[in-house]
Amino acid sequence: MSNTMEKRLQKELMKLVSEPPAGVTFDSESADSKLTLWKVKVVGAKDTLYDGESFILQFKFTPKYPFESPQVIFIGPNIPVHPHIYSNGHICLSILTDDWSPALSVQAVCLSIVSMLSSCKKKVRPPDNVVYVSTCSKNPKKTNWYYHDDSQS
């Protein structure tokens, strides 16, 4: 395992446990011993369509993290109904692939997703949900995402 990855994930973990951002809770027990799989709880913000709902985000890290983006999906029984989130938990968010930067972090990704949920105006699945879910790879990073301009959706 790469040294950079291990040290960096340790630091991220400590910070996320000690000073979690609003709407995000993380139990360090949920991460596996090698820190390559994390489960983070995200709560819908007040006065949004997801108020009171809670979701689980799963992070998978490769040894190339943070130079390579983590694999992030929603898991569990409750997958948010959102125009950019597929019913299998895959998320269409550019920072998770093309626009990933090694200066981003788990916390930054969580915040992006929370704000993506908060700005939602109508709870619907993406228009191509059925086709995508039945044909996609298990790993959302293998999908060639076409990022829609958020201002239009």
Binding site: T4, K7, R8, K11, E12, K64, P66, F67, E68, I95, D99, S101, P102, A103, L104, A108
Partner: protein, 515 residues
């Protein structure tokens, strides 16, 4: 467009003079094609050069310097601007002096050096060194934490955009971009939401290890080579040489790695057939259109369930073997068997229009298939022979050594190698004459072409025979005469055939079949 091309030629002639005088690492054609002259007679006087990755980098820098003589910018910034304009100098100059300069820097994803740190530096200072082009280093007062590894470091580096990372993270980041993703000119700052591109000065100062620096040089020049219509990468796997021609008409080039290819389509040399026709042929050979031809020529479909059926016996009373179908039908007219009674000779549908049409279609299909197979067979045959001739080279080498022990000098036995060279060239030409002939509509010129082809093929086979068999049995002096004469003849025939085809191109004598 005209002026733009002239601009490029200017630089080239400049650069080549310089290279020739200062650098003997450049290989001119005369040195690397054994019989280049024979190749060239139908092209305009061919000349090309092979440039290694260092040479191409130097050449790119020369273009940058040229532009910089006018723009007066740090060279690494000019390089980014030029790349943004796909190395179109004229376009860059035009935009730079007519438009909004800040906008150009922004579009090219770099920072206007005149506006560094908010201060507007007067552009007429003319002192390029005043804006340091090196990556900015922070003063070593306090240790800072790198945003990537979250560790404190004293060696923080960054681009002019002001995002700093430690040298280890920079190296890891660049290694992934250069080696894994194959990027060069388009590597952006690692910071989130920052699109400022890295420049070669910064990268070369940050990179550790010569391997990765070499790789970076290659990747960096990619865009330059691709946008330059007179330069192409050698398509041979693993070869990183760039072939640069002096005129766009040059077709046949041989890289210093030994790979000979068509400069236009990057396929192996394929005279006399032209690139578009060759492309069509290769597509035809690779797709399964001929399988479809075979199926339509040799099978019929069950009229009921549409299962494909190949007839394997004489009886025309067919029973479909599809378990759920079991349809009884007549192979001739493809309708139900029951009205035919006991003998198909009474088939009153035999001459019905649709069955006639079906039969003609099938015959056409058969003819087309046979025609294709005829040409393909010969094409494949020469291709296979050509591959086998490489074995001949080692055999001939052995023979040459043996002859030298029998009172013949080194120079006296060279005729053998030359003969094998000619043999290979003739075989290659023959191989592609069958592609040409496949698409050719017959007319008087086509008949002459076929006569030339036949002549060359016969002579080539004789030469092959001499080199493969007689060379081991005949008297030495005798075989030398035979081989030399035949090789000379083959070379002449090959030349004549090619000249005829190229004349035909010029005078528009060839008519093609629609396929």
């Amino acid at each position: 467009m005209e002026s733009d091309e002239e601009g490029i030629y200017d630089v080239e002639s400049d650069a080549s003079i310089n290279y020739n005088s200062s650098d003997d690492g450049i290989y001119s054609e005369g040195e690397n094609t054994a019989h280049g002259e024979a190749n060239d007679f139908m092209d305009e006087p061919t000349s090309y050069k092979c440039l290694t990755s260092d040479q191409i980098f130097n050449y790119m820098m020369k273009v940058v310097d040229e532009v910089n003589a006018i723009l007066q910018l740090p060279p690494h910034i000019t390089c980014i601007l030029l790349n943004h304009f796909k190395w179109d100098k004229e376009k860059l100059m035009e935009r730079y002096y007519e438009g909004d300069q800040d906008k150009i820097f922004e579009e090219a994803q770099t920072i206007n050096p005149f506006r560094l740190k908010g201060k507007v530096v007067s552009s007429n200072t003319n002192n390029i060194t005043s804006f340091s082009m090196q990556s900015t280093k922070r003063p070593l007062t306090t240790q800072e934490v790198c945003d990537i590894c979250y560790l404190p470091s004293q060696h923080m580096n960054g681009l002019q955009c002001g995002h700093f990372f430690c040298i280890d993270c920079w190296n890891e980041y660049l290694r992934i971009k250069i080696i894994d993703e194959g990027q060069g000119q388009k590597i952006a700052c690692p910071a989130n939401d920052c699109n400022i591109l890295t420049d070669y000065e910064t990268i070369l100062s940050l990179l550790r290890g010569s391997d990765i620096k070499t790789k970076y040089h290659q990747r960096l020049t990619d865009g330059f080579v691709m946008s330059h219509h007179l330069m192409k990468w050698c398509p041979s796997p693993g070869c990183s040489v760039v072939v640069k021609v002096t005129t766009a008409g040059t077709r046949n080039v041989t890289c210093i790695c030994g790979h000979a290819f068509c400069f236009h389509c990057l396929q192996p040399i394929h005279e006399p057939v032209r690139c578009p026709l060759l492309k069509k042929w290769l597509r035809k050979c690779n797709d399964d259109s001929e399988t479809a031809h075979w199926i339509s020529a040799n099978t019929k479909e069950c009229p009921k369930c549409r299962a494909t059926i190949e007839k394997n016996g004489g009886c025309n009373h067919m029973i479909c073997q599809n378990k759920s179908c079991k349809f009884d039908f007549c192979w001739i007219c493809l309708s139900a068997w029951s009205p035919h009674g006991s003998s198909w000779y009474n088939c009153n549908r035999y001459d019905a229009n649709d069955s006639v049409a079906a039969r003609t279609a099938q015959e056409k299909s058969r003819a087309a298939l046979n025609r294709y197979l005829f040409y393909c067979d010969r094409y494949m045959n020469h291709r296979q022979s050509l591959e086998l001739e490489h074995k001949l080279y080692s055999k001939i080498k052995f023979k040459m050594e043996e002859m030298q022990q029998h009172n013949m000098s080194w120079i006296e036995v060279q005729f053998l190698k030359k003969a094998v060279d000619i043999l290979c060239k003739c075989r290659n030409t023959l191989k592609y004459t069958y592609v040409f002939a496949f698409y050719l509509r017959s007319n008087n010129q086509a008949t002459i072409f076929e006569a030339n082809q036949k002549d060359l093929e016969m002579a080539t086979e004789r030469l092959s025979e001499y080199l493969e068999r007689d060379v081991t049995t005949d008297e030495l002096s005798n075989i030398k005469q035979k081989v030399q004469d035949k090789a000379k003849y083959c070379e002449g025939r090959c030349e004549a055939l090619l000249r005829h085809v190229y004349e035909g191109y010029d005078m528009d004598l060839w008519e093609y079949l629609d396929e």
